[in-house]
């Protein structure tokens, strides 16, 4: 029997090669898709967890702290730094007691505490009025911001006593005193250690250590301050330079005329008048934020920051002697260690707007600045701030004063949180917020983007992470009843991103809400999400522009994950289904082809079940071949890469191919029951019913009638071509859909990259299987008609006619298959997702071409063979056992196999380690809706002198949103006039047209333009990139005359480095009446294009 089967295969070489290729593709495809991808299951989960895991699973916040951004499940980075209290200690204890909660780490943002360092005093003895100018230059990453604070005081010349501030001068201030701000937060040392390993992040420096139980809060009744234990972030400083300059004003003043002079100062406007006076520099001192902070650390630790040596402190004595020397001098800091807290943290207010580039940034917000009124605290009075300044106490005297007892320093980068900048999840308490300045107000990209840095201002756009930490106990004593701003929860038993984890978390979250009434958010499975914020300028200043920040997309990884899982299962499912259809179709075709042969075997005494056994054996042999191939491939991959493979997985991957083939034999086996031995007596295929739709009049109709006449066969072949087509279309849809979802978040992009190769392989596999199926059927159809063809040749048909006859039938099968396949595909899509593809419809419809193309390709070779049939050889066949042919074919088969296996293994080894995927998973709808709204750019604050600028800015910004131009100007201007002078020079003017216009009602317009590339390369093709537009029509240049050109590569690229420049005349033919028009330049480098308007 085996021999019989083997001979049957071996002597029909073309079919046998097809069979082997099919078996290879099926086994390789299955191995790859179900074997490997599944074998590495879990790796992707690990990856996700490692890369984008927050240290907490749930965040508990007080009611009303959700911002507008959370409607879209977005959290701004470092949102925790903008919260101030709201949760009581009792609530905290309640939460801690909830079963299943492993860590409940509270954080209480107390406020911005200042630390100061005194670098000594200046000696000023010469009588006069002095100016102490404090110049603070902060580098916020985009540029430097300088704030100047002047302070005036008299030395040895005028008695200040009983004088009001209207004189513009105050008590002498001689200290070289520098301040720093840092956010102070209260934590529970024990929980924080468990959550992020804060105890491990303490650095060894002097006596630096972590909190212990004895570090308690103490209220000093006598001095009226809170004594609190603190640990300090060793990098809690901003990039700033403080410069203190003492100047003597050029003002004639001595003890005699002092009163008169000062009276004059008062009349002239006091301090404002003094600001206008020139002065002579007496002394300057400058220090950076970093130096200040290190000095602070030195004082705190008692050891030198750099060397670790003990520093001797003598300041206390000095201060006392200073006080003695000059009783008039204001008391600067009685005790430098006592500090006050003035401001509480507050959140930013956002407003949704439409994204200027929704593809890149689906979520866009605008920062709404807070306008302070007269009532606001001094520094912010009548000024705009990004956040609402909130005083910790209305009355200055009620503001808490505290004496921080320094305990230790910690290094935030040593915390057990992900610090990899490419994968960080910007929701950690300790990470500095980052923002990239990507576009200026006009929408021009900033290249490279600049990194915005925190400025240390409590109410600036970027918040700092806490720089000093104390205990919750201390926070409660300072803030009162509800000190905690948020509690970060870690739940026991939640290890991976899965439905079970989600369920546990939901349960715990509900429990928390029920018991405390606080709001909870599950943060497990969140992904970073790049969001764009439009940041307006403050206090009439220029708008800053567009900042890109990694935000947190809450819970998105779980949805992506699930979607990936279903989609991938769908993909694997469709490929497997395509494979099964292929196997079945080829089984049925095989049976049809051998029907007569089987009838003969029956008539010579074979039992029907012998035929079934024959088919079963055949399938089993291929099945075993497929299984062994799969196992070999898996084994090879296993040995050559580090992919881990469970035995079960290994076994089943092989068995699966085997099962597919064995099942594939069942239908033909059943069909053999219908073969009557009597068929051996008959000639030709008998169809009881013969349908004729058209009368046969020509080749096409003949083909069509043949197609319809053998309708059973045709239906089979159409269906077996249609099914893979349908599955391929569905598969494409899934891929598109997945991409659509993937590229909305960073995590998605990552996942998409990871599973990309698997998808391409899947597409290739199913496509080649679909091709094989079609080819096999067409081949069969044609080779069965050899007799008919030889007859047609015998009666004098031309070769081309025969070719056409066969090709036409291939086209018919293809068309029908495309029709059925696509209808089926749309039904499946509807069933799966309840939606039809709209965007990708073109592409999916294009899959309908495959069966047609395949139908034709599949018939070309048979048709060629057919036309070569010598009329009387109709039956001869190409079955041979000649030695030479055998040998040659053996080589062909062997080398094809080697090539196939080799290529496959190569790809497999290359991509295998990257492929991971999990199975199961249920349907989730991942609703993705970008932000909407209008960017209301530039708030009303601007008055007269800024109007011009502001208006310009206004225009240009609104242009971004709509489909308009990158920039535009009129013919009397140049690109320099609209702020584009640094990038390029572009100007145009109308000149005398030289066009000879024959038609009446038309005229010529000539425009002479100059374009220079200044910063980079621009592509300029005058003939195709310039158009003349008026309200209805566009006109392309009729003629281009280049007057002068430099650095114009390939007549296209104006090279920036070679000062590329083009000066040319464009001539257009336009209707007579056209007076006003615009010259539009649209190319690949200028985005929305540039318009010059002519009036």
């Amino acid at each position: 029997m085996i021999r019989f089967i083997w001979q049957n295969w071996w002597r029909r070489k073309e079919r046998f090669i097809l069979l082997i290729i099919g078996a290879f593709i099926v086994s390789a495809g299955l191995t790859y898709l179900i074997g490997l991808s599944e074998s590495n299951k879990g790796t992707i989960v690990d990856n996700l967890q490692q890369r984008w895991s927050a240290s907490y699973d749930i965040v508990v916040r007080p009611e009303g702290t959700r911002s507008v951004t959370e409607e879209r499940k977005l959290l701004e980075p470092n949102y925790l730094s903008g919260l101030s209290g709201g949760i009581s200690l009792e609530q905290y204890e309640t939460i801690k007691a909830i079963p299943g909660i492993e860590v409940a780490a509270p954080i209480a943002m107390i406020g911005y505490a200042s630390y100061s360092v005194n670098y000594g005093q200046v000696e000023l003895t010469e009588p006069g009025i002095y100016r102490r100018m404090m110049e603070t230059t902060v580098n916020n990453g985009i540029g430097e911001e300088t704030k100047i604070n002047n302070y005036y005081f008299p030395i040895n010349v005028w008695d200040l006593r009983n004088k009001g501030p209207e004189y513009g001068v105050a008590a002498p201030y001689l200290d070289l005193l520098v301040n720093g701000h840092s956010l102070l937060a209260g934590i529970d040392p024990e929980q924080e250690a468990k959550l992020v390993g804060l105890d491990e992040a303490i650095i060894e420096l002097g006596t630096s250590r972590y909190f212990v139980d004895t570090d308690t809060y103490y209220f000093d009744e006598g001095k009226g301050y809170h004594e609190i234990p603190i640990i300090v972030n060793q990098t809690a400083y901003v990039d700033k330079l403080e410069q203190i300059t003492f100047e003597k004003l050029d003002i004639e003043i001595n003890e005699e005329n002092a009163d008169a002079v000062m009276e004059k100062v008062r009349e002239n406007g006091g301090e404002d008048y003094l600001d206008t006076l020139s002065a002579e520099v007496i002394d300057t001192f400058s220090v950076t934020g970093k130096e200040t902070f290190h000095a602070f650390i030195n004082r705190m630790t008692g050891v030198d920051w750099e060397t670790g040596e003990v520093v001797v402190l003598e300041e206390d004595e000095e201060e006392e002697s200073n006080e003695d020397e000059d009783p008039l001098e204001i008391i600067t800091q009685v005790d430098e260690d006592v500090t006050g807290i003035v401001f509480k943290p507050s959140p930013l207010e956002y407003q949704e707007i439409s994204s200027p580039y929704a593809d890149r940034w689906p979520y866009t917000y605008q920062v709404v600045p807070f306008q302070n009124s007269d009532d606001a605290v001094g520094v912010y009075q009548n000024k705009d701030t990004f956040r609402e300044p909130i005083l910790i106490a209305e009355n200055f005297l009620d503001q808490p004063r505290m004496k921080p007892n320094w305990i230790g320093f910690y290094e935030a980068s040593n915390l057990a949180i992900s610090m990899d900048p490419t994968t960080e999840l910007p929701m950690e308490t300790y990470r500095p917020a980052s923002a990239e300045y990507v576009m200026d107000v006009n929408g021009n990209p900033i290249n490279p983007p600049k990194q915005l840095k925190p400025t240390g201002d409590p109410y600036s756009f970027l918040t700092d992470p806490p720089g000093m930490l104390t205990t919750i106990e201390a926070a409660a004593n300072i803030l009162g009843e509800k000190p905690i701003s948020a509690i970060r929860i870690k739940v026991a038993g939640v290890a991976d991103l899965s439905d079970e984890s989600q369920a546990i978390l939901e349960q715990v979250a509900n429990e928390i809400e029920n018991r405390t009434g606080l709001i909870t958010d599950i943060t497990l499975g969140s992904s970073p999400q790049l969001a764009l914020s439009y940041v307006p300028g403050l206090n009439g200043g220029e708008d800053i522009g567009w900042l890109q920040q990694p935000w947190v997309n809450i819970g998105s990884s779980i949805s992506i994950f699930k979607e990936t899982k279903i989609s991938f299962s769908g993909v694997v499912g469709s490929v497997i289904a395509v494979a099964i259809v292929y196997v079945w179709a080829s089984g049925i075709v095989n049976l049809l082809a051998r029907r007569k042969e089987f009838a003969v075997l029956l008539s010579i005494g074979w039992r029907p079940n012998q035929l079934s056994r024959l088919l079963f054996f055949e399938s089993s042999i291929i099945g075993i071949f497929v299984a062994v191939t799969s196992w070999m491939m898996l084994g090879f991959v296993y040995i050559s890469s580090d992919a881990s493979l469970s035995f079960n997985r290994f076994l089943w991957t092989g068995l699966f191919g085997f099962i597919v083939y064995v099942f594939g034999s069942f239908i033909p086996m059943l069909l053999t029951r219908n073969i009557s031995p009597y068929e051996a007596m008959r000639t030709g295929e008998i169809s009881g019913i013969s349908k004729r739709i058209f009368q046969t009049k020509g080749i096409n109709r003949m083909a069509f009638n043949h197609f319809i006449g053998k309708w059973k066969r045709s239906i089979l072949s159409v269906i077996s071509i249609a099914l893979p087509t349908a599955l391929l279309a569905v598969f494409l849809y899934i891929t598109f859909r997945l991409r659509g979802i993937m590229y909305t978040s960073l995590l998605g992009e990552y996942v998409a990259l990871e599973i990309g190769p698997a998808h391409y392989v899947a597409i290739l596999v199913s496509l080649s299987i679909a091709i094989l199926t079609t080819a096999e059927i067409m081949w069969q159809n044609v080779s069965e008609r050899r007799e008919e063809i030889s007859l047609l040749q015998a009666i004098g048909w031309k070769r081309w006619s025969i070719r056409r006859l066969i090709l036409a039938e291939g086209v018919f099968s293809g068309l029908f298959a495309a029709l059925i396949g696509l209808s089926l595909a749309f039904l499946i899509m509807w069933g799966l997702y309840g939606a039809f593809p709209t965007e990708e419809i073109g592409f999916i419809l294009a899959t309908g071409l495959i069966p047609v193309v395949i139908g034709v390709i599949g018939t070309i070779f048979p048709a060629e063979r057919a036309v070569r049939i010598i009329p009387n050889q109709g039956m001869g066949g190409n079955i041979t056992n000649r030695k030479a042919v055998e040998k040659r074919l053996k080589w062909v088969v062997i080398s094809t196999s080697v090539l196939l296996v080799g290529t496959f293994l190569m790809t497999m080894i290359k991509v295998a380690p990257n492929i991971e995927q999990a199975n199961d998973g249920n349907e989730v709808e991942y609703a993705f809706s970008p932000t909407e709204g209008e960017a209301s750019i530039k708030e009303p604050k601007d008055t007269d002198e800024q109007n011009v600028n502001a208006d310009d800015a206004d225009d240009e910004i609104t242009l971004i949103g709509v489909d308009d131009y990158l920039f535009q100007f009129n013919s009397s201007q140049t690109s320099e006039d609209v702020g584009w002078g640094n990038q390029l020079f572009y100007a145009a003017k109308e000149v005398e047209s030289t066009l000879v216009i024959a038609e009446s009602g038309m005229k010529g317009i000539a425009i002479e333009f100059t374009f220079e590339a200044r910063d980079s390369d621009y592509d300029i093709k005058p003939k195709s990139y310039f158009t003349l537009i008026n309200s209805e029509e566009t006109y392309s240049p009729e003629k281009v005359t280049i007057l002068e050109v430099e650095g114009w590569e390939n007549e296209e690229w104006l090279l920036g480095r070679e000062d590329g420049k083009i000066h040319a005349v464009l001539e257009f033919k336009v209707p007579e009446g056209m007076e006003s028009y615009g010259l539009e330049l649209k190319n690949r480098t200028l985005g929305y294009g540039v318009l010059i308007s002519f009036d």
């Binding site: 029997m1 021999r3 019989f4 001979q7 049957n8 071996w10 002597r11 029909r12 007569k596 042969e597 003969v600 075997l601 029956l602 008539s603 010579i604 005494g605 074979w606 039992r607 029907p608 079940n609 012998q610 056994r613 029951r673 009557s676 031995p677 009597y678 051996a680 007596m681 000639t683 009881g688 019913i689 013969s690 001869g876 066949g877 079955i879 041979t880 056992n881």
Partner: protein, 230 residues
Amino acid sequence: MIQKIICQHLEKSFKGDGTKTIALKNVDLAFEKGEFTAIIGPSGSGKSTLLSLLGTLDKPSEGTITYDNEEILKKSKSKLADFRFQEIGFIFQQFHLLPTLTALENVLTPLFSRKVPYNKLERAKEALEQVGLQDKMNSLPSQLSGGQQQRVAIARAIVHKPSWLLADEPTGNLDTETGERIYDLLKELNEQEGCGVLFVTHDPALAAKANRIITMKDGVVLSDKVGVTS
């Protein structure tokens, strides 16, 4: 060993698309083992239909065929196949050799997965020798001439030593000379092996040489004459 085949009121019709074609009408015939019978008649006279019914390839619409008083046709398909294996050897006009198998393998096909008391390969070679093709054992059908192919088909038909040989126009696709040789071979088998031979032919000259000549037309037996007696 079936000694006698008796057909009673045999009728066979094919239905299709509203038409009914009567291929065989009220045929009553009896065949004895050892007879050499020729069935002659024009196209469509029902010769091949009769042969296929006798060979259990098809079932009659009406009437019965008894093989030694047994109605084999009522049995299951497998039993029918067994019956054909034991008793009937078929030879077709188009030879119907399996194109992928060599002459020897083709001869062996009826013996696949059958338990036989003799050595299959030896028997197949013997059968080929009997038809005079011992030197063509390893040739594929496409490498053989028509006469040779038909001789392979005959070897295949006799390899399992059937008691009846049914030949459907065995010489129809062959030239006269070759046809005669095939005819002689059948005759020889009839005489040597003692198996009943029923053969359908168009050729009156060949038919005339048979022991018994049955003439058919339009599904009806016109005459049943005794021919040449040997």
